[in-house]
């Protein structure tokens, strides 16, 4: 082993000192992002999601044919069980009306992504607002606050008891069947989940010493909630939002499958496509496989990223 000379040691020390002086401190968010980047699970999930989003954004422009044009109508005879599978020019084959399945998949991705994001956003925003009010009331509101929190939570419990399907059916009865109905139904079901999660997380932080410290400093309550408690309570909500995207897409597909989705045949959506394919499953299983695999892979991407984020945001959870 080479023995470092005195001058070498001094130099090394100087380098180390320089490094420590220039370091600008790593926030927990940045550390979490660093951990996320080094996680294989996160990379795989992110690649899938990016690919999916790309398809959703540029897909309609890449589609070789119109998704609604029944160009090959005279080649498909569903009544006789005669379908056209994958072939040159129609890579995924044709559907029961003679439309190009590949084009429909590409265009349908946009609707699927839209449903997932909008439904999750509805749940996230509403749940977040309810959660933050409830959490803030419970932690800093004293006796009155605890009462307010208690009332809100009973209301949330009621919402939790509502099955999404029932909700979707009743919303559809009022608003008519459409993609909006599906998005609202899936979104509303997520509200109590986010509200409870944020409230619970805030309650846990509310007893932390640094909240007490902020109070003793004389920081205003609103600021304590927004700049002290909230940033520390966000991790589980972020993770849940990512995971919800996956469930929202699957739930939306399920609702579309049941015929509550967009009835307009011109606008393809994976869930609707799956529902249509079901009738012809014994003759042309490929028709169902493409949208199903699409949904599964997308959901998998969000789930992988969500799980990786959970670990990155809270390394303690790692077994």
């Amino acid at each position: 082993m080479a023995v470092a000379t005195k001058s070498e040691k001094i130099q090394r020390l100087a380098e180390l000192t320089a490094v420590s002086e220039t370091s600008t401190g790593a926030s927990l968010w940045r550390e979490a992002f660093r951990r996320l980047k080094s996680s294989k699970m996160a990379i795989v999930g992110a690649v899938i999601i990016v690919a999916f989003v790309l398809v959703a954004v540029v897909g309609p422009f890449l589609a070789p044919y119109s998704p609604s044009a029944q160009t090959w109508r005279n080649e498909v005879f569903p009544n006789q069980g005669k379908f056209v599978g994958a072939r040159d020019g129609n890579w995924f084959g044709l559907d029961h009306l003679g439309r190009d399945l590949f084009s429909r998949m590409l265009v349908g991705a946009r609707q699927t992504l839209l449903v997932g994001i909008v439904a999750t956003l509805i749940g996230l925003v509403a749940g977040f607002l309810i959660g933050i009010v409830s959490g803030a009331a419970a932690t800093l509101g004293g006796d009155t606050g605890r009462r307010v929190d208690s009332v809100i939570m009973r209301f949330i419990d009621m919402m939790l008891a509502l099955p999404s399907l029932l909700l979707a059916v009743s919303i559809a009865a009022v608003m008519g069947q459409s993609l909006t109905t599906v998005m609202i139904a899936v979104g509303v079901v997520q509200v109590p989940v986010f509200a409870r999660l944020l409230r619970g997380s805030m309650l846990a932080q509310g007893n932390a010493d640094y909240v007490l410290a902020a109070q003793s400093l004389g920081v205003r309550k609103r600021r304590i909630v927004l700049s002290q408690i909230l940033p520390n309570s966000l991790s589980p909500v972020i993770v849940q939002a990512t995971l919800s995207l996956a469930t929202a897409i699957i739930e939306a597909a399920a609702l579309s499958y049941l015929g509550l989705g967009n009835p307009d045949p011109a606008i393809p959506e994976w869930g609707v496509m799956l529902a249509q394919a079901q009738r012809f499953f014994s003759y042309a299983p490929a028709m169902a496989v493409y949208p199903a695999v699409g949904i599964i892979i997308t959901a998998l991407g969000f789930t992988l990223l969500g799980e990786a984020m959970r670990e990155a945001l809270d390394p303690k959870l790692r077994g």
Partner: protein, 443 residues
């Protein structure tokens, strides 16, 4: 007039039960009538065991918990009656340093942001630039480099974090700083640094401290006056030196007797007052004197019925005990608990006059069951000679009162067994015991 005066402060937490409508089924008497005065520029130390209410008292001064009754007067203003917003502004003059240095710093804020928080809340400094200058000056004062500004709490060591906590209190230029166990979470060497820092700052800035601690050595070092708390109230209050030289309250005596002395000669002669029983629940405190259930000198009638008030027994020494003088003069004798030698392990320069080695049977590792102490040593024959040599000491081990004092039973001459027993510090003892026995044989 004193800078900070507490008068009959009570903090009672309701115990609530009920599904829909909360019913109050009782109270936890966390702080039950504490009156004390802190002079400007002085340090008031508050000691007591865990659960005696000292932290709650500290928090009640800052109104971090609601005061049920009594007044906290800072410089003529009764904080207990201040409405919310005025109290918030008043907090500038009254700051707190917390026990857990990491837990009391928001992990998502960098140091600059943490230290700015209070200044923003009180409108100190026109812009961030001005605040940053002030923060840098304070950081320098508490001995932190100015490049700490952009860093986050988890990037610092324990001692540094506590310095940040102190800096956070200092930026608001408070009159009084309440230090809640400021050093108990730190290494001993770092404790000294932080305590010295607190003292330097006190001299430089003329600060007044209310220090809450359970470490008697720390409190003695920094306090001018010390108050001893037991179950929500003060039992004794005296100038630091007087309290340590001559504790008057039985509880203080017991507390002081538990402090080891770093001098082997003195340590060997040191005697411990062993209290019986556990700390009673603050939800259901004993009648009369709160301490009478555990007091070795408790008298039949008066102690259980009449609650003693703090009274001056001369020289600013205040005691809440009916019989303080009688105990001091030796007129009263023990009627429960006992006084034992503090060093029972029989490790001494002169083994022949030493306390015996009583062996805990190896099969029963926890030294809690009294019967164990009486059982003969089965698999530690080396120590037996020792044991037989001192009959009257051995008899001590038979008293059931010792049941919960693992310190008394000598650990078996076997590393494994010793480590199973409750006090890890004893692990080193077996080897020594063996040495002693060998010396015996040589004699």
């Amino acid at each position: 007039m004193s800078l900070l005066e507490l008068d009959g402060v009570k903090v009672h937490f309701p115990i609530k039960k009920g599904v829909l409508v909360d019913r109050t089924v009782g109270h936890v008497y966390a702080v039950d009538g504490v009156s004390l005065k802190v002079e400007a520029g002085e340090t008031y130390g508050l000691v007591g065991e865990s659960g005696c209410g000292k932290t709650t008292l500290g928090r009640s001064v800052l109104r971090l918990v609601d005061i049920t009754e009594g007044s906290v007067v800072l410089d003529g203003t009764d904080l207990a009656k201040l409405p919310g917003e005025e109290m918030r502004r008043f907090r500038r003059r009254l700051q707190m340093v917390f026990q857990d240095p990491l837990g009391s710093l928001n992990p998502r804020q960098n140091i600059e942001s943490i230290l700015s928080e209070g200044m923003i809340a009180h409108g100190i400094g026109k812009d961030q630039e001005e605040r940053r200058e002030k923060i840098k000056a304070i950081l320098d004062k508490v001995g932190l480099p100015s490049n700490a500004l952009a860093r986050y709490p988890h990037e610092f060591s324990g001692g540094q974090r506590q310095r940040i906590g102190i800096a956070r209190a200092l930026v608001l230029e408070p009159d009084v700083i309440i230090c809640d166990e400021p050093v108990s979470a730190l290494d001993v060497s770092v404790q000294a640094q932080v305590i010295n820092l607190l003292e330097e700052l006190q001299q430089e800035l003329g600060l007044t401290y209310l220090v809450i601690a359970h470490d008697l050595a720390v409190v003695r070092h920094i306090s001018d006056t010390i108050g001893v708390m037991y179950l929500g109230s003060l039992v004794e209050e005296a100038p630091s030196d007087a309290l340590y030289a001559e504790p008057k309250h039985p509880y203080t005596k017991a507390l002081m007797s538990a402090v080891p002395v770093p001098d082997p000669e003195v340590e060997d002669k040191r005697e411990r007052i062993l209290l019986t029983g556990d700390l009673p629940s603050p939800a259901n405190p004993p009648s009369g004197c709160r301490f009478h259930t555990r007091c070795p000198w408790a008298q039949a009638e008066r102690c259980a019925t009449e609650r003693p008030q703090l009274r001056d027994v001369g020289g600013g020494h205040r005691v809440a005990c009916h019989y303080a003088e009688d105990i001091a003069s030796g007129k009263l004798s023990l009627n429960q608990g006992e006084i034992v030698s503090a060093t029972r392990e029989g490790v001494d320069d002169n083994p022949e006059t030493d306390t015996p080695a009583e062996d805990t049977p190896a099969e029963d590792a926890p030294a809690k069951v009294p019967a164990q102490a009486e059982k003969p040593a089965k698999d530690a024959p080396v120590a037996e000679a020792d044991k037989a040599s001192d009959a009257d000491k051995a008899s001590e081990a038979e008293k059931p009162a010792k049941a919960d004092k693992p310190a008394q039973a000598e650990k078996p001459a076997d590393g494994d067994k010793a480590s199973e027993a409750e006090k890890p510090a004893k692990a080193e003892k077996p080897a020594e015991a063996e040495k002693v026995t060998k010396a015996d044989e040589a004699v």
